[in-house]
Symmetry: C2
Subunit: 224 residues, 2 copies
DNA sequence: CAGAAGGTCAAGCAGTTGCTTGAAGCATGT
DNA sequence: ACATGCTTCAAGCAACTGCTTGACCTTCTG
């Protein structure tokens, strides 16, 4: 066997350029067409490289997708966890749900302000409902920790909600966030020009109040 | 050429059985694995039929997916359009947003109460963020009409919202609905046993109030 | 300069894909 | 009995898939 895939970067290294180009191409193509509809040859060609290079650098197509996720998320998710912990601590364990939502959703929506961040958000949103086991494994793993932090913080912010009710409300929050990131073009098709899910400032201004109001709705429990 | 794909059903017809089995198998497999990860051979095998039968009856893999969608949606979407028109008319053009949401979302969530309806909801939810052009074309086409009715009714129910704000709020509604239908298992993984997105009664009881509260939130406009 | 190591490449392997083919099966109407 | 037309099937085609191979090239090290 001859693959590195871990002990890289020994000095300036010429090959790291190729590696980065492969990650860029993979991110863009996976986002545009979906994991299953992109071949390693497509990626190699888009990266002006060779089909074997992707396997040399990453070992497999699956590992390449994982590397794409980790490259963008390692920083953002650490920030989200920090912000969540801060707003819980600052409120003495009883945070405002608006702050919790801002800490969880804000960083990823702001990521969409840059072109490459928007491309990644497309990929992340679309991957979130991908049934492919390889994709699921990666998505589950990469969001597991920050997801737990969010659920915990949301529970602390909404102590009046039953587990059931919290579950469903958080599902709505996740759904909205994923749908906005995935940007499938359906709504723009219905609304016509002038609006776009890729406008991350609009997402922050208009979607956050919606979600906050939803989380603050009086409990529906008791309604049998 | 020898394919029917349109002028079928001449009497009792033995072959309609096979056709129905193919639709069932395709719906289940597409829902479980995603359009791209299922081959026509997989479908034929699951339907205890032959690989050529799928192409004989439907012409192509794409047309088979379209037939799966149409079989379930032709009824439901007509009902949704009727309910939307009714609640607008009954309120003299100024419907309650709660009724609009119920008319639009209720029928599809209630579809999830049956086993095959739940399977279809899985497929529909997951297909809504599928970037594959064939899948997009089908999804766009099959939901276009009812989507326009809903946007129109929501606009009538919320006359104080700007086009921008209505767009983003409807995006949140769509997102929640799609995420619930797609049921990717992530939230259940975070919450543990006892809750499930496949519980359609829970969806109606808990998600609808969330979305109604979100739609009723005071306009955020003016906040520059 | 010789060697080693990291990196790139064209070629190829085995398996899968959507779809087609031509021969057969089958019930019907004459 | 015969012909008709819908339906099924095994076999096959060309294209594509993820991944591997072995030969090269380049750069750093002794």
């Amino acid at each position: 066997m001859n693959s590195p895939a871990s002990r890289r970067r020994r000095s300036t290294v010429p090959g790291d350029e190729t590696r980065e180009r492969l990650l860029d191409a993979a991110e863009r193509l996976f986002a545009e067409r979906g994991y299953a509809n992109v071949s390693t040859r497509d990626i190699a060609e888009a990266a002006r490289s060779n089909a074997a290079a992707a396997h040399y650098h990453f070992g497999s197509k699956e590992a390449l997708l994982e590397a794409v996720f980790k490259r963008r998320l390692d920083g953002v998710n650490a920030e989200r966890e920090r912000l969540l912990a801060e707003c819980v601590a600052a409120a003495g364990g009883r945070p405002d749900i608006a702050d919790v939502l801002e800490a969880f959703i804000g960083p990823t929506l702001r990521l969409g302000a840059t072109e490459e961040g928007h491309r990644f958000n497309l990929l992340a949103g679309r991957s979130s409902t991908d049934p492919n086991p390889e994709v699921r494994r990666i998505v589950f793993g990469v969001y597991d920790s920050v997801g737990r932090c969010f659920v915990e913080a949301a529970a602390a912010a909404c102590p009046d909600l039953s587990k059931d009710e919290l579950f469903w409300r958080i599902a709505c929050v996740y759904g909205a966030m994923m749908y906005i990131r995935a940007d499938n073009g359906r709504l723009q098709h219905l609304f016509g020009p002038g609006v776009s899910l890729s406008d991350s400032a609009g997402a922050l201004r208009y979607a956050m109040p919606f979600l906050t109001a939803g989380m603050r709705a009086p409990p529906a429990a008791g309604t049998e």
